[in-house]
Assembly symmetry: C2
């Protein structure tokens, strides 16, 4: 994803001009620079403009701020922007948004301001947002919107079309019409295209698709995303425990979920949190320090292992020079295995059904590459130090460590998953502990036995 984005409307040049105009307090210039931007463009500008200028920018935009901009903002920046808007502004923005988006924004507010904003809203919208907030974050109930076309199962195509022509509050992005029975239970759906192609007197029941997927309001958003992906859905109805139609989830909300999840996995594997980029330095440092402390503990563990062999190192200093190579190769080979395992677990390609085969393959790969790099490294050491026994020791240690890396790289994420811990978060730290300890132990241990 590193290609320059020619379709992108926000260029570094534009950001610089906005910052310059803000620094000079040229409110009109700022407004005209931002005039043609989409909500995402506005959001990108807000994210890229630095702190004191950003506050000015929000003050200038205020009522011109596209409500959609708020939902595109990174959480850290959103809190910042909301701080500067009063309850009336926020309520006005919330009224223009879909229920799910409005709920996501109101949730960020402190309890008291949240009540103030809700009080500014008309009763119907307040009730909808409150019922969305009643579902936990990350569930289908939170993700869904409530405005949809719901049709009794006795109507004809003509009646449905007339109903749509009369209703004024229909969302513009309707793609499917949902059919319900008298109790409000979902009976199926009709794609708009199909309805358009059907003659008016045909009963809607004749063209309804009864076998459509639906999700319970309590379903996890990650599962909902899987479902959209697997069935190539554009929208999916959400039902309550009795099968009654509650709302509909649209694909664009799911795209955001897919993005977020992939982003989270990437960042977690690198030992950082999801809001790392926009947090102030002290907060970022504190969040990252947790991970570094864990790493320090494992590094100390590894150096305790080295400490056991001080005598050997004192006699053969070359051991100190060469030992990081064995540990580093193990760490890298293991990271390759862990990366594949974590992704395969996340995408459902690695399960109890094929875990044994996966472990066997990784062990084979580790053994193969272990032998290749054992030969390479052994030969290099013989050339370097002219000592074939030292070469043989490093070769043997390399094979040991690459096989250990393969086993640890598969067994660690599988075990973490089994115990309900996200393997993306902690696999690598356990892995490098294993590859450092085994790497130093094998190399220095074999050296002690065969070289002293």
């Amino acid at each position: 994803m590193s290609e320059p984005d020619v379709l992108d409307e926000v260029t570094p040049e534009l950001v610089r001009r906005v910052e310059a105009a803000l620094a000079d307090d040229q409110a009109e210039d700022v407004r005209s620079l931002l005039a043609g931007l989409s909500a995402t463009g506005q959001a990108e500008i807000l994210e890229q403009v630095a702190e004191p200028e950003r506050d000015k920018l929000v003050a200038i935009l205020k009522k011109d701020l596209d409500p959609e901009t708020l939902i595109e903002l990174d959480e850290e920046i959103l809190e910042d922007v909301l701080d500067q808007l009063d309850s009336k502004d926020i309520a006005a923005a919330a009224r223009e948004l879909e229920t799910d988006d409005a709920a996501a924004i109101i949730e960020e507010l402190p309890e008291q301001e949240r009540q103030e904003v809700l009080a500014e809203l008309p009763a119907a919208e307040r009730a909808e947002i409150e019922s969305a907030l009643a579902y936990p974050e990350g569930t289908a109930g939170r993700l869904m919107q409530r405005s949809l076309v719901k049709i009794p199962d006795g109507w004809t195509v003509g009646e449905v079309i007339d109903h749509c022509r009369e209703a004024t509050d229909l969302p513009d992005d309707v793609y499917d019409i949902f059919v319900v029975d008298p109790e409000g239970r979902l009976r199926g759906s009709v794609p708009l295209g199909r309805m358009l192609r059907t003659k008016r007197p045909v009963p809607i029941a004749d063209i309804v698709d009864p076998d459509i997927p639906s999700v319970p309001a309590s379903a996890d958003q990650v599962e909902v995303a899987h479902l959209f992906r697997d069935k190539n859905l554009v929208s999916c109805p959400v039902v309550d425990v009795r099968g009654r139609l509650e709302g509909v989830i649209m694909v664009d909300d799911v795209v955001d979920v897919i993005d977020e999840e992939a982003e989270e996995d990437i960042l977690r594997m690198g030992g950082v949190g999801i809001d790392d980029m926009h947090a102030p330095p002290v907060r970022t440092a504190r969040l990252r320090a947790v991970w570094l402390t864990v790493n320090l503990a494992t590094a100390i563990l590894a150096s305790l292992v080295i400490g056991q062999f001080e005598g050997a190192i004192e006699k053969i200093v070359a051991l100190a020079v060469l030992m990081p190579i064995v540990a580093s190769m193990g760490g890298n080979a293991g990271t390759q295995t862990v990366t594949v395992a974590v992704r395969a677990l996340a995408t459902g390609q690695l399960t109890a059904a094929n875990a044994l085969r996966f472990i066997a393959k990784e062990a084979a790969v580790g053994g193969l590459n272990g032998m290749i790099f054992a030969l390479l490294m052994g030969a290099a050491v013989v050339g370097w130090y002219g000592d074939w026994r030292l070469g043989a020791v490093i070769a043997a240690a390399m094979i040991c460590n690459l096989i250990a890396a393969a086993l640890a790289g598969t067994l660690i994420p599988l075990s973490l998953q089994k115990f309900g811990v996200d393997p993306a978060v902690s696999s690598t730290v356990f892995l490098t502990t294993v590859t450092d300890v085994i790497g130093f132990l094998a190399f220095l241990g074999l050296a002690t036995v065969f070289l002293l």
Copy 2:
């Protein structure tokens, strides 16, 4: 993404039962086990069943194989499955698929078989697939489908509806109708929902949305994905260099692109390729060996640095025990920075406009954590070895290396991006080279100056 997927139809239990039925050659059992599965479900089974059984499974399914299954398969497995189907089977599958999907499958075939499959297709479909294959992989032209509703700009809503009722070959997933001028140039689009709400005599020109985004057929699929995400699109028209409407890209194809790109970034950062999981062991080992060789070179470089200080290590063996801690902490802190930088570059949050601010923040974070871990580690070493000068040396080295890690962690991906290299692929290896070299150099160098 590690929660168990309750909506998932393919359980390890099901895979095991399929494998057992295949081992006993119970073709009927296999068919009934797979009967209710979606295309994605079939694909998952094919991916999880091991090699000799998989061939049997393909032989049993053959004509029952849902063509959609083919497009869900991992590339390695797809090649395997295609090997066992003859040209007629593949042509039959291609006819049922959208042009873009059919092209993606036919592209996997060796040249001769590709010609055979194309020869089996009716002329019109062959021409469509050939013209899709004329666009390079990863472009909008390849991603688009050609079947769409194209309407002259002089029609009324009634005429459009009648046209849709008469046309039998309309795709079921039509969400927008595209309006073109007499030269075939795109004039705008009308969402189906809006058309349904409009009275028959209204001219289509009155309700057309002229300001819709469109992409050139040569646009990169990653940019297309950005556009869908930024504008929350469900479909997007594709035009040729003269602005003539060529086809339409649907959101479900874009979801696949987003998935693939995120997947690629994750795997690349871990030093593995996109088809690593399903490749046979020898091929996986060979692909990974490339990355391990690069790592070996950097590890040797680091050990050459250590080699310069053999004299110091001989006198103070504690240096050998402690030096991996300094290097490891630098590597981990740097990985945190690199991860954030690579993601921020990929998502367009880090640009020339805010690069300096980003670097300054990372340096501050590095300095802060450097001081914290310098204190911790310094105190630990004083306690461990009772030598406050050794403690001071490791503390100073720790601060140096964490600041170096922050600078390298930002400058390396920024420079790679500038020179057109994907920062996800190679940032970490350059980074660990820097943190190993600086880590050993600072610690052993300071020790030589102050302790000997």
